[in-house]
Symmetry: C2
């Protein structure tokens, strides 16, 4: 069935941090000084030494169920060793990492299964429904919203369904420019397979190096090049989903009027209805040329006007990002060069396409920027491109140094964006200052639409004695501010468990009832990622 | 609340045909000859003379319920007179018109209500739920798939909820370029209100002259300029829906990762979950320039390759339509000039935007077309623009003349498009020839995506003795061919009652179960458009 598979196995990320431990940067002296003198960071939290120091809950699933599951996926594909369980106990939010660094893997599953096919997934879900075992679909493990630690107490146990063996490109329809990719394929592997045939997906979120195709679909991911290539949910033309009640196969045409678009009901369902096992996505020819520019604008407010003009009237660059004054000064757009920013508000504007398109489009956008008084800074664009996936490693270094560092994001319509920006920034500053740790709050816009845009906040502070409670307070204040300002609780991170109370406020009880009804139909035993996205009754 | 409303009331269309009776064309002698000699059309079916000749079912709803409803909307807004009931008994499919022309209004509602607000709609739905009265949301009445004649027998009666009084522009956010429009606003009225402020919606389906904003949303409409402005479901950023269980208010941002996109669950729900009462849509500046060109290609197959190239690699025109050889010869792109077509396959390619954009884009597209050997035919483009809403009037004239005329449409991925085209054409020709009326089958592509396109078929034949059974046979054969070829049963007409069996095959029983579960949650008494879209159990 598979027409191509990755040649090499994929490396596991560090269990206490983001990814490859060798890539965690050494913080420059200036940044260390900023942390200690500016934020009051005290002695650093050392990295944990050994997996042996991590406390795991007892395994609740007995050998009979594990044997039954092993008969479906193969006995070698059922792991109950501590390392597998710890590696599947959480995602990559700062609270997740703080808990693991403190030796707490209390949310670990009883077992990790690695099925090889849609039918094996169906078989596993059948057994788990019968035996009341909760199931966590697990792709890249990069959730930052508590999407991988469901409420398993009411069940006989919890398994993580790691989809890494389902990593084939099943089909490449070059006439329609559609690739059917299995859910467990990692983004870099997908790009490698596609590029051998001359194509790209064009989906490059910050989680790119570890996240999977299935995860992008389940959580409505949006990449750094969304201005040009669109969001992941806009790329999806078909889906296959294994649910406890059977298979959903959706998408006979790019668009249709045959009822509601049920693909859009599965996209963003975060494993609560079933397991997305493969996804049909539009692909594009590999760009012949790429160009990333920095442009320095007078202020964040002035820059937002320019972004809006480009989003509404064009021309549309492929990448469009604008840092506020604080983020610009700290140079977060290039985390490897932290602290060496500059004045004003830095925009990163990128182009991908044919050489002629890139030339023409960049010239046309430059005219808009120059008319707004912006100044070209080519180095800043190149630095961004070089450093674009480094943000999460910087967080590892900051946590090592004893700082608290986390991000959150929202979106709304353009007319409400300035008020939303002020409200969330103030809420974070007030809440963390009230706990004795005045923070630095940075923000950028990185996804634009004709009607609105996203805001992405980064927060740094000294770690308090209880950093989990500290961040919980800041996060709750920010989420309340988002709700009060009419923003969405998440633009591309998803809901998970962490955003659930604000999600329920956002869509209202009737919508939650409708989702619960869908879940009851597709997952009658309620085993799928319980408590993620949809509150249990 | 309303910031603007149409100044003039909207004219009612003819009850036995499409729209303004004065606009039904006189068929040219050449076309009459083609009908009689080519298709064997016999003596014409005269138009019905009087509403008095139409048979109506008895009114089942008693005065107590009608009074109760009148207390919500006002007694003057509850109509039970024959004309109101006949005008709300059906949509505008050929079977609908054939039945009405034969004096059969058996699907008429008991009463027609004209509420003035979201709250009045909520009030009506509450009473109807309590009293088990079926409710048909009624916008422009232009459904061609049986979306307005639900299965009301199991209920105590049926009311049509005509939204014509809910016709305000509630809000115009010029920063975000979003207008909030009430559901009963007709498309020409919406364009008139927006154009006074310098904007357009850019949604111009063939039903434009009569259809409403709510209908576009409920049925996932797609307009003739979809290549440039997108489908209606892509324009919607927010929705307010009155359901029997309460209000759904969706859309805090253009895009979000806060769970499934529930707007896309309401779009295409065809009144089965509730009544869409207002819609937030993106608007664009009125185009400074418009240009519509005809281009003649060697063949339909060659033209499809050109459309695919433009859809995938750009530049994208605003309007992109390609007739097959038969449709080109008959000149259906300009119904007023029927029969005077020509050789090859005619493409209509339109541009709207700033004068500079139109100039630049048309020149770039011309280079692609010329490289494919296409020849410019400016008159054909202008004729299309002049005649773009005339197709349904032509059908009135054909029905008058004793011909059968109807359209159907589908969509699929590019790689499957040629086989789908052949299969549907063959099925129509075979099925109608087998009934003694060999048809003429015409086709065009009018909506393109990077991954695929729509096919729109027009069928003409002599009317058989039982034209309803005759068309039912042709339609069933075409629908079976669509299902077997992997196409969607509808690209933009919707499901209604007519497409339901094939819709169920398309999405599968599990998806139907999920929709039924949503309906049970939002509409526990099952009163909303029963049997439309979702089969009753």
């Amino acid at each position: 069935m598979a027409i191509a598979r990755p040649a090499e196995p994929y490396p596991d990320p560090s269990w206490w941090g983001w990814g490859d431990p060798g890539q965690v940067p050494v913080l420059p002296e200036a940044v260390r000084k900023l942390l200690t003198e500016g934020l009051g960071v005290r002695a650093g939290g050392a990295r944990p030494q050994s997996l042996d120091d991590v406390a795991l809950p007892d395994i609740r699933l007995g050998p009979a169920v594990l044997d039954e599951l092993g008969a479906v996926v193969g006995p070698a594909q059922v792991s109950t060793d501590p390392e597998s369980r710890i590696r599947h106990s959480a995602g990559k939010s700062t609270p997740d990492l703080l808990r693991l660094r403190a030796g707490d893997a209390g949310t670990a599953p009883d077992a990790v299964l690695t099925p090889a096919s849609h039918d094996e997934v169906l078989g596993v879900l059948g057994i788990c429904s019968d035996r009341r075992v909760a199931v966590v679909p697990f792709g890249g493990g990069t959730s930052v919203v508590g999407g991988l630690a469901p409420e398993g107490r009411a069940f006989t146990g919890v398994i993580a369904l790691d989809l890494r063996r389902m990593n084939a490109m099943l089909e490449l329809d070059e006439v329609s420019r559609v690739a059917v990719l299995e859910a467990g394929l990692r983004a870099p592997q997908a790009e490698a397979l596609l590029s051998q045939r001359g194509y790209t997906l064009g989906h490059f979120p910050q989680s790119f190096e570890y996240a999977t195709i299935g995860g992008f679909a389940a959580a409505r991911s949006s990449g750094q090049a969304s201005a040009g290539y669109g969001r992941f949910d806009e790329m999806v033309v078909s889906l296959q989903v294994a649910t406890p009640a059977g298979t959903l196969a959706l998408g006979r045409a790019p668009k249709s009027a045959a009822g509601p678009d049920l693909r859009q009901l599965v996209l963003g369902s975060e494993g609560a209805f079933g397991v997305i096992t493969s996804v049909g996505v539009t692909v594009r020819p590999l760009p012949e040329a790429r160009r990333y520019e920095g442009w320095r604008l007078e202020s964040f407010a002035a820059g937002i006007d320019v972004l809006r003009a480009l989003a509404q009237d064009g021309p549309r660059p492929t990448v469009l990002r604008l840092s506020d004054e604080v983020e610009t000064a700290l140079n977060l757009a290039a985390p490897g060069e932290l602290g060496s920013g500059g004045e004003g508000a830095l925009a990163i504007i990128g182009y991908e396409g044919t050489a002629a398109e890139v030339k023409e489009r960049s010239a046309a956008v430059a005219r808009v920027l120059e008319a707004a008084g912006a100044q070209l800074d080519l180095d800043a664009g190149e630095a961004w491109a070089r450093e674009r996936y480094r943000g999460p490693y910087l967080r590892d270094a900051l946590l090592d140094a004893g700082a608290l560092a986390e991000t959150l994001e929202t979106a709304t319509f353009w007319s409400r964006l300035p008020a939303l920006y002020e409200a969330v920034g103030s809420a974070l500053r007030d809440a963390l200052t009230a706990r004795g740790t005045p923070p630095v709050v940075l923000c950028h816009v990185s996804h634009v639409y004709s009607a609105g845009a996203s805001l992405y906040f980064t927060v740094g502070a000294a770690q308090a004695d209880d950093p989990l409670a500290q961040w919980e307070a800041g996060k709750a204040a920010a989420s309340d501010a988002i709700a009060a300002s009419g923003g969405s609780i998440t633009h591309h991170h998803g809901v998970g468990v962490d955003h659930r109370p604000w999600y329920v406020r956002e869509v209202g009880p009737l919508a939650v009832g409708a989702l619960r009804a869908v879940k009851a139909e597709l997952d009658p035993a309620g085993i799928m990622n319980p408590g993620v996205l949809i509150p249990r009754e």
